[in-house]
Symmetry: C2
Subunit: 628 residues, 2 copies
């Protein structure tokens, strides 16, 4: 996004060094193929991040797909060229690139400009505000300039390659990974840059599967691939990433949403386009008001924005670090009706993590046209409506002589237009004025067809649905959640905590014996087995490290509860359960541990309630015991 505020780790509470160290050391995320030298922009998820991601996706499926009976699909990553040619990706899915002519090294031109302006401002702290504003305005538009404009600006800001030479002129570089499908080597394919196309091309089958009923949504979770020119910002700009996309198909003339009332009062932080160009300030406003006032284009778009906010809160994202930024008119595709990005604030600044776009009828129309496949839905009227139509009469002979086997295609195209006088009128006008016109690439003349404008009673109408598309960058959300979850007790570098909530925590419970006494170990095994039986991922730590150190280790990977078997357990059968963030402990009969943890994880009770049902134990953990 062009409006990303660069925080550059100057958030006072965020200790990047400690965070990065924890992330790698605990194997949340590691560079892919590290021992072979690695590859820029590729990362592997290790065990705790895998568990976190699985829980995030499970909740996504329940929050979106299950609750609204969306039709989930899983389409392939390999995509033949014709599909991405049709969607526009082959021609337009590009970033502007420059090369250092001496070394051949490649760079993303807009990022060079952004960095040059940052540098300039940093080096001139006394720069007059007006001049600074001027530079910043240029910076914000960095990804909207033409190649020529960018070249001029790179020269103006004195950008030079690592070799010291000026950069090559900028040129568009297609970000899709290309391959060849089949043994002949003649069939070009790409790795999909997004998951949406698989849903669009299946529209007809999806509509059938939904018994022809509109509106409806399809959804897909899967990987996308982009050959980023210069991957950076850790997990935020990578070459292979997980997306969750929803395509909600809706009548373009009625974008209301039946469930909108359930979210109308939800207050969101909106950064509308006028505010971006004007005050620079966001607004807190209910989505109901935002739609009513026209700030957000329609109910369906607004509904999904609110549902996304609710999802983010559910997985434990800090609501103070969420905002919706509207695309500027210059940023949006020409066909789009309105776009709002959910941006999440991390140490890298505000980063777009979920797009919400009303893409109008663009996608279905291009695939329909390229394949000659009608991609329309039907709306049935409560009572028949009178409609102006054209009644056509063809001169079949004239048509046949000119178009041969295509004559049928031409007449069908005209019949389709004739279903509404509004659509046919331009053809009629042209034929009357000049005696000829073009329909679907065929030149027709006045001799071939005559018409009559008339009224017709119709019981239904066909239309190409509009698409409202919420598109989730799961990897970016995962990374942001890692940052939002990280803190240090008393700002102590040795006492890192990940405060995952029990729903998303990769492991739900740790079980620890206070001593290596065989009876203690047996009780630990028994409790762990029972937790596992209930599908609660459990971590057993029988190491001889001090208890405080073992608590600290489980805090680091965000385990919400730790159960300790001590000598009391052997006499009265009770154990302690410690809650990670408060470090409060309760004493619970060991037979009840599994139910307590299960009920909290499944939101049937709360920790607060548990502290009322069981005796709280006084424990001083303030010994600053480090994890390792």
């Amino acid at each position: 996004g062009t409006l990303t505020e660069k925080l550059k780790g100057d958030e006072p509470d965020f200790n990047r060094k400690a965070f990065d160290d924890l992330i790698i050391r605990k194997m949340f995320v590691v560079p892919s193929f590290e021992i072979h030298g690695g590859v820029k922009g590729l990362f592997d998820l290790g065990p705790p991040a895998c568990g976190l991601k699985a829980a995030m996706i499970d909740l996504w499926r329940k929050h979106f797909v299950l609750t609204e009976n969306m039709l989930e699909m899983e389409c392939t990553c390999l995509t033949p060229e014709v599909v991405l040619k049709t969607s526009g990706h082959v021609d337009r899915f590009t970033d502007l690139m420059v090369k250092d002519p001496a070394t051949g090294e490649c760079f993303r031109a807009d990022k060079l400009l952004e960095d040059a302006i940052d540098d300039l401002i940093e080096k001139n702290p006394t720069m007059p505000t007006e001049e600074k504003e001027d530079h910043l305005r240029t910076q914000r538009q960095a990804d909207a300039f033409s190649p020529g404009e960018l070249d001029t600006l790179l020269t103006k800001y004195g950008c030079k390659g690592p070799s010291g030479e000026a950069y090559s002129p900028s040129f568009p570089f297609n970000l899709m990974f290309k391959t060849s499908i089949g043994p002949e080597g003649t069939s070009v394919g790409f790795l999909r840059p997004e998951t949406a196309q698989g849903l669009f091309v299946n529209f007809r089958r999806l509509l059938d599967a939904n018994a022809g009923k509109m509106p409806f949504a399809a959804a897909q979770i899967g990987n996308g691939f982009r050959n980023e020119i210069a991957p950076r910002s850790g997990l935020l700009r990578v070459r292979e990433f997980c997306m969750g996309e929803i395509e909600h198909f809706v009548d373009p003339n009625d974008k209301s949403h039946a469930n909108f009332p359930t979210v109308a009062d939800k207050v969101l932080v909106l950064f509308g386009r006028d505010d971006q160009l004007g005050s620079g300030k966001t607004k807190k406003i209910s989505i109901g008001e935002a739609v009513k006032s026209g700030l957000v284009n329609n109910e369906t778009l607004g509904y999904f924005m609110a549902r996304t906010q609710l999802y983010m809160e559910k997985i434990g994202m800090n609501p103070e670090c969420l905002r919706f930024r509207q695309h500027l008119a210059t940023e949006m595709a020409h066909y789009a009706a309105d776009c709002w990005d959910l941006e999440i604030k991390s140490s890298y600044g505000w980063v777009e993590c979920v797009g919400h776009a009303d893409r109008a009828c663009y996608d279905l129309e291009v695939h329909s046209k390229a394949t000659n496949t009608p991609m329309v839905a039907t709306v049935k009227f409560d009572k028949p409506q009178e409609m102006e139509v054209a009644k056509l009469k063809f001169d079949r002979k004239a048509l046949g002589m000119v178009f041969k086997k295509d004559a049928r295609t031409v007449s069908a195209a005209l019949e389709a237009l004739a279903e509404s006088w509004k659509d046919f009128e331009p053809i009629a006008t042209a034929l009357e004025a000049s005696g000829k016109t073009t329909v679907d690439g065929f030149e027709i003349t006045k001799e071939m067809v005559s018409w009559e404008k008339t009224m017709k009673k119709v019981h239904e109408a066909k239309f190409t649905p509009s698409v409202v598309e919420p598109s989730f960058g799961m990897g970016r959300i995962l990374y942001s959640l890692l940052e939002h979850s990280f803190y240090q007790r008393d700002m102590d570098e040795q006492r890192n905590v990940m405060k995952f909530n029990p729903q998303v925590a990769p492991q739900k419970c740790a079980v620890l014996p206070i001593s290596s006494n065989p009876e203690c170990n047996a009780a630990v095994d028994e409790i762990a087995a029972e937790l596992m039986q209930s599908d609660l991922a459990t971590r057993v730590d029988k190491s001889t490290a001090a208890l405080g150190r073992r608590y600290a280790r489980s805090d680091e990977v965000g385990v919400p509860f730790a159960v300790t078997v001590d000598f009391e357990t052997l006499t009265d059968g009770t154990v302690t359960i410690r809650e990670r963030d408060s470090m409060v402990q309760v004493r619970v009969p060991k037979k009840e541990v599994c139910n307590v943890v299960f009920d909290i994880v499944h939101q049937r009770t709360t920790w607060e309630q548990v502290t009322k049902n069981y005796p709280v134990v006084q424990v001083d953990e303030g010994d600053g015991t480090p994890a390792e």
Copy 2:
């Protein structure tokens, strides 16, 4: 597999036409990019198959990863060339291909031979048994012949291309999809053909994450890609597929498994290599006995075979259609200790769906060697052991003069060997005999090092772990489960049922009003909302079709339970719950519906128990009402 028995749909009970029709019509699986003409070997999963797959993977994770605390990772599909060069895939991941010289069309040579032999036998029903056996023996080895042998056989069996010309000589075709990573276009990458390599290259971090403890397992679920020469057999041989792989790292000198006793009595159907070459008959035998008798190489391998069998039974696979086939000596990689494929019988015959391979130390050794990264684990002895070692003395000057900056590498390599006299002895012998020898590619001479054979007390030993690898083809398992779940009531083509068990069923419950009466609809909505709240995917069918037809529709997508709101509901608040396969109905207060379904899905009760707790209703559904 070469031993695939071709059933060619001649299973008496399997109606392929009805099955295929259902699969497409209900959008379980559809050809990818259909409206654009499709691509061979690429298929999309539609809503019911997506739900089924998500449930299968969830159970897989719980059955394998969670229960045994495996370390799950998610590595990238994009893989740089160096990694797959090291693993051997760049050089050896090939199938033999021939071309029709006139048309350029490509074919898999072994499959042409197999088909030619099938044809020959089919056309000669009176062929003497001995001659037939001879042809079949050739057929079974089809994928083991050299290019020259295959060419001779294709000529012998008169194989000709579609153009009528003889095929080109056969040549190896690499099955990996190639692409280029990064903007420079100079860095070759491939789409991974399996997920295992990502785990191998991360071995050191994984061992650390497991606190250095052995044995342990890593696991990964994700997509693999193979550019099949001639994809066929529907979903069984495709170009993009989901795999679940486990790499269990174990001491090569101790392949026992702590949990083996828990499965030792499990009886499996084994098709050992001797039986394949001899009787042609399988054996039913407990895995405990199979390991004890040496038929299965070791406990760890046997443990996973039994666990796989249990998983298959859990997801609802027909146990009669499962067998484990051992690889013939000629089939196995030279380094492998033993391999058993779980084969599942479908209408395409016996198809390998899960490999279980003891790959010895091959994978870690090649990556270690290629990257100069030690990939070893440590075993600590209970009491120190006396060990024969070599005590080395280097002439640092002599080493330095010859090897310069590599001197340290050479001395380290020698020190590593010296840790065990057994490993160092060949070096000593060679240096004594000829005064020089080669270590890790460096030629060393007698002047550089002297040694002494001595005894040393050691407390631990380092070793390269062996890998036992269960590798699941999730797509093949999914397809087999679809076939195993399909049946027709009374062999009636109109009454198709998918008998998914409640754990894997994509939708758990249907809710239907007997009339479009608003009170009925309100009750339906209330029940459906409560089910959804409990994360039970629910299908509401308010259409005006007859009740029997609506039941049939939900049977077709395998919904195990259907709740019907009728006029009694409005007076006494009870509804009926119908079980799909028995068609038995019980009458239950509507407030209890959610708990009943939840408890069955989570295996806290059974349908049988439910029929005892609630009154059974007599209903005659035998009207053969078709679904559509």
